[in-house]
Structure formats: C-alpha cells, structure tokens
C-alpha cells in the first residue's frame, strides 16, 4: 500500500471539501427535529454520482457522524430528539440546559460525540481487516445466511411489531428483485417500463421511503408549526474538572457503541440507550440522573457516535451493512460499481484504507464545525414548517432527478413515499424495507448459486460448519424475540 498516495488523496482539497459539506449538512439536518440521520445521508446520496468513490463515502460518513451529534442539539435546546439516537440525551440534556446553560450541555455532547466517534474509528481500523480475512473463508451459503441475519436482526430487534417488520423485510426483498435477472437476463416485474430494467434506482427508493414519507408526516403537524426555545447562553465551554467527571461514561459509551455497531440490526438508537443505562449503573451520582447530570449526556452521545465506526466493520469486511444508515452508504459503493466485502481490501486497497483513516477526519470535522456553527444551527431549528417543507421537498425532488435525470425516477420516489407514509402509520418498519432492498440481490444470488452447487438441496446450509453456526445464531435471535413476546403476557396472567 502506497502511504504517500493514500494521504495525498485523503488530504486533497476536494476530499476535505466534501467532508466539510457532509458535516455541515449532517449537523443541520440532525438538528431539525423529525428529519433524522437517514434523511441527511439520503439527501446527499445523489451527489455521489458525480464525485469520486472516496469523496462519496466520506461525504456520507461525515453526514452520518455529524447528524448523530446534531440530533442532540434539538434534544438539548427543545427537549425534542433531532434523531432517534438522541432520545436518551433529552432526559438530562434538556434539564441541564434549563437549569444551567444550553452551551454547557451542548459542549458535553460535542466532546462525548467526538471521543465516541474516534473510538469507533479505531475499532474500525483494527477490526475490519482481520474480519475481512475471515470473510475470505466464507462462500455463497454463508453469505446467504449472513444476509438473512442482517435483515432478521433489523426486523426483529429494532421494532415493536415483529410480524409487520418481517412483512416490511419481504416487501423490501421483492422491490430488490425488480428488473433484469442477472442469471437469465429475463425481466421481472418491470410492468413494461424500460426505466425499471436496471432495477429500482437506489436513490429514488431511499428518498421515497425515508424522505418523502417523512415530509408528509411533518405536514401532519400543521404548516404553522414552529419550534421555539429559551434564548439563554449558547456559549461553549467546560472546565477540565467538569470533563474529568464524564470520562467514565464516555469510555463506557464508546465501548458499548462500537460493539453494538458491529452487530447488524441494533444501531445508534439502541446503543445510546445502552450507553445511558451503563452510565447510570456505574455512576456515583445515580440519583442525579434525569435532573441534568452531565453523565446522562456523555454516555448516550459517545455511544451513538461510536456505532458509526462499528457499523462500518461488517460492511467493509463482509459486505453486509451494520445498520440501515450504512445500507444507504453501501448505495454509494454500488453507484460506483464497487462491491464491499472481503475482496475489497485486495481490489481497492488505497480506497479502503483511505476510508478507514478518512473516517477519523470526519470526526475531527464534526468537532471543528460543531464548535464553530452550532449557534447558527440552533437558529435553523426555528424555521417554520411553512418554509421548511417546500424547500426540503424541492431539494429532494432535485436530488432524485440528479441521479438519472428522469422524471420517472421522481414519480417512482413519490409513489414509494406515499405508500411508505401510510405503512409507517400502521407500524410497518421502513428501515427494514431499505435494508432488505440493499441485501436482497446479494441474498438471491448467494441462494441460487448455493442451490445450484447442491443440486437444489438445502442440506448445504447445515453441512458446512460456518453455515451451521450462522443457522444456530439465526435460530437464537428468532427464539429470543419469540420468548420476549411471550414473556410479558405470562407476567400479566400470573
């Protein structure tokens, strides 16, 4: 690997610019309640068509990182989480902001997020290559089962109504089969549309499923909706002693977040709650939690940013996204014709290592821009929906159009957005749809190749040791979910 080439590419003007852009967009979108991390990444996805693969991935990673911190701005200032992963931060962040100063609370959040992000990056650097080497030992049966694990984990671990989540998974898999079959060249469910011969455009799907549906949900709060906040000091700063007081929850949160991120399905929201619970469990001031304890900010914030690095590990080493957000980032790889997985370390060495080290740069950018611009982002929160909705809607329409310059794509995103708006109301899982859509083609290819090898026998999934281990893990996940479902009803009846 040429270190000089790696660093010259990483520190080029264009790469630094796109990292800054991603950070800026991530901060602003993350800070706006209701939009969320997925929205930030999906909005930037169309830009990746016209920039290099490295710039694409770092742009989206910067947005991902920054939005996880950005979500805490709204949690602290308004008491409304800007992203699901910032929900735990409301408990102490909002109270600290009201009792003392919002600036102090935001400082705790920014520092914890930065340290968590760096820790996640270090885990990513040291874990992905060994896991990729292990991945080379796997074959089609194992990849099929890993895909099942990925979609099941998202479906069963991250949603209340498991059956509807599984239906969402199957719906996403169906959407992934639309287009030309790679084995036979036959068209599947294209309904006569030539534009669908290549499958559903990933940008149209992502924007439709997450962004359009979210905009329609925002409209339900009324066009006059506007957030307001008590304009106290937003000045940044904590003392060294105050920082020392949160070292433990930051360490715990970072470790928890990195581990949670590696396992597909859980993601930043779960990690932030685990981080909060761990911070409280090991705190000497448990009674102060929920009353503005800085540890209650540091724990969840370091955890949710640490998941970003952790969730990239399975993507780069096995080709399986560790979260729905990373599934969107996987879209950037696909757009550039790069298949993440064990072989990417040998086929695209400079790119992969640039991403690994570039990830640390995105964390630094989040801290620098966060410090400089948080005060301005706070003002963005109070833009009324009557302006925000049309502006964002237009940007989304343009984003979809930018991918293939076809109005058909915008129509497709719009139709998917309307369908998913209603599905969301009935507790179907939108992240499951996206995850399944991304994994579906890999799953089908692996399945068909495996069955071709075994002449149609499913025994191939039970006779290989790694496959058998994966089958057992999948069975455990299903059993745990079923037991959890039956558990509370037993308590009620007794």
């Amino acid at each position: 690997m040429d270190i000089a080439a790696l660093f010259s590419e990483l520190f080029s003007l264009s790469t630094l610019f796109f990292i800054a852009l991603g950070t800026f967009v991530g901060l602003i979108i993350g800070a706006l309640p209701g939009l969320g991390t997925m929205f930030a990444i999906v909005m930037l996805l169309p830009i990746t068509y016209v920039i290099s693969p490295l710039d694409s991935v770092l742009l989206l990673l910067a947005a991902y990182q920054a939005s996880e911190y950005g979500g805490s701005i709204s949690s602290i200032i308004l008491g409304i989480p800007g992203t699901p992963a910032a929900a735990a931060t409301v408990l102490d962040g909002y109270t600290l902001a009201k009792n003392e100063s919002p600036g102090k609370a935001i400082t705790y959040s920014l520092i914890a997020s930065t340290i968590g992000g760096i820790f996640g990056g270090i885990v990513l650097i040291f874990l992905s290559k060994p896991l990729a080497s292990f991945g080379l030992k796997l074959s089609d049966p194992e990849f099929f089962l890993i895909c099942i694990l990925g979609v099941l984990a998202v479906g069963m671990l991250s949603s209340e109504d498991k059956t509807k989540s599984l239906i969402s998974v199957v719906f996403g898999l169906i959407l992934g089969t639309i287009g030309m079959d790679v084995f036979t060249g036959k068209m599947r469910f294209t309904l006569g549309f030539l534009e669908l011969s290549d499958g559903i455009n990933i940008v149209a799907l992502m924007i439709g499923v997450f962004a359009f549906s979210e905009i329609l949900s925002m409209l339900e709060e009324g066009p006059d909706k506007r957030h307001s906040f008590d304009k106290r000091s937003l000045k940044f700063g904590i003392t060294w002693k105050e920082f020392s007081g949160v070292k433990k929850p930051i360490s715990l949160g970072s470790l928890i977040g990195s581990v949670v991120g590696v396992f597909p399905g859980l993601g930043a929201p779960a990690a932030s709650w685990f981080g909060y619970v761990a911070a409280k469990r090991f705190s000497k001031k448990k009674e102060l939690f929920g009353k503005g304890n800085p540890e209650g900010i540091a724990g969840p914030e370091s955890a949710n940013n640490a998941t970003v690095g952790g969730s990239l590990v399975p993507l780069l080493s096995l080709g399986i996204p560790g979260s729905p957000a990373v599934a969107v980032i996987m879209g950037a790889f696909i757009i550039h014709g790069i298949q993440p997985g064990p072989l990417v370390f040998s086929n695209e060495t400079t790119l992969v290592y640039s991403i690994l080290y570039g990830f640390l740069l995105t964390t630094v950018a989040m801290y620098v821009l966060g410090r400089m611009l948080t005060v301005f982002f706070v003002k963005a929160i109070i833009v009324p929906y009557s302006y925000l909705v049309p502006i964002v809607l237009l940007l989304l329409i343009m984003g979809v159009y930018a991918s293939k310059q076809l109005i058909f794509e915008i129509s497709l995103a719009f139709v998917l957005g309307v369908i998913c708006y209603f599905l969301k109301k009935l507790d179907f899982s939108l992240p499951s749809i996206v995850m399944a859509f991304v994994l579906g083609p890999i799953m089908e290819e692996s399945l068909r190749r495996s069955l071709s090898l075994s002449q149609g026998s499913y025994a191939i999934f039970f006779t290989r040791p790694y496959s058998l281990a994966l089958v057992i893990i999948i069975a455990v996940i299903v059993l745990v979910s079923l037991v959890k479902k039956l558990g509370p009803s037993k308590h009620v009846s007794s």
């Binding site: 830009i47 016209v50 109504d161 059956t163 509807k164 599984l166 239906i167 199957v170 719906f171 898999l173 169906i174 089969t177 079959d181 084995f183 036979t184 036959k186 068209m187 599947r188 469910f189 294209t190 309904l191 329609l216 409209l219 339900e220 709060e221 009324g222 066009p223 929906y385 009557s386 302006y387 909705v389 049309p390 502006i391 809607l393 237009l394 329409i397 343009m398 159009y401 930018a402 310059q405 109005i407 915008i410 129509s411 719009f414 309307v418 209603f422 599905l423 109301k425 009935l426 179907f428 089908e444 399945l447 068909r448 069955l451 071709s452 149609g456």
Partner: protein, 149 residues
C-alpha cells in the same frame, strides 16, 4: 379509520401485490430453455409465499388484539394539496418543460397555501425565498454537477 381496519386493508393489498408480482414474473419469464429448477421465478415465489403467510399471521394477530385506536390523519388536506401539486408539477415539467418558471410557480403556490397570508410584505418574502432557492439549485445542479434542467 380504525387502526385494525386500516391494517386489514393494508395486509390485503400487500397479499394481492405479492400474488400479482409472482404471477407476473411467471408470465414474463416463461418460454426459453429451462436448464435449471433454480430459475428467475424461484426467489420471487419464495417471497410471495412468505408474504402471504406473514400477512395472514399479522391478520390474526391484529384481530386478537384487545381494543382499537383511530389512525389519525391530521391536517390531511395539506397532505392532499401537496400531493396534488407535486403531481401537477411533475406532469407540467414532463410535458411543458420550462423548469425554472414551473419551479417558481410550484414554490410560490406552496408558500401561499401553507402561510395563507397575501400581504405585500409576505408576497415579497415568498418571492425572495423562491428566487434564492432557484439560485441555489442553479449553482448546485447546473454549475457544480453539470445537470441540465
């Protein structure tokens, strides 16, 4: 509409979608030499069956749930108006063109509908914001990304 009823409708539509999907694929991929039983319909058939089974399970789970709630569609008229405007905008863009003029009209329509204020000051503000957005789009998409509009 009640949550349960809405769920039944959604599940029914999803099941029908699954069947139409599977049958359509069988029709479009029929013909030609069949050299494998693991053909282009194998995975879609699995998915269609799985979808049907899951929808039936969900149907019974929903029926067994005690109590019901209402699926509320707050400010639904704004949702409908916005959807209608988007459809009109896309059709006009497709058949007429003149992207910047159409987009200006689209934005101004939404601003007026949402803000419901027709004072001169408000109109001037709306025009300023709409023009700024068009400038941003021009700079990002036409200049930076070289995408003709």
């Amino acid at each position: 509409m009640s949550y349960k009823r809405a769920t039944y409708v959604a599940l029914s539509l999803l099941m029908v979608f699954g069947w139409v999907y599977a049958v359509s694929i069988h029709i479009t991929t029929s013909g030609g030499a069949r050299n494998s039983s693991i053909g282009p319909t194998y995975f879609p058939d699995l998915l269609a069956v799985l979808l049907t089974v899951l929808c039936i399970v969900s149907f019974f789970q929903t029926a067994r749930k005690k109590g019901d709630s209402i699926v509320r569609l707050h400010y639904f008229k704004y949702v409908l108006i916005t959807l209608s405007l988007i459809v009109a905008y896309l059709l006009a863009w497709y058949y007429i063109g003149y992207f910047y003029i159409l987009t200006f009209v689209f934005l101004m329509s939404l601003f007026f509908i949402y803000r419901r204020n027709f004072s001169m000051k408000q109109i001037a503000k709306n025009i300023a914001i709409a023009c700024s957005m068009l400038l941003v789009i021009y700079l990002i998409f036409e200049v930076a990304m070289s995408i003709p509009l």
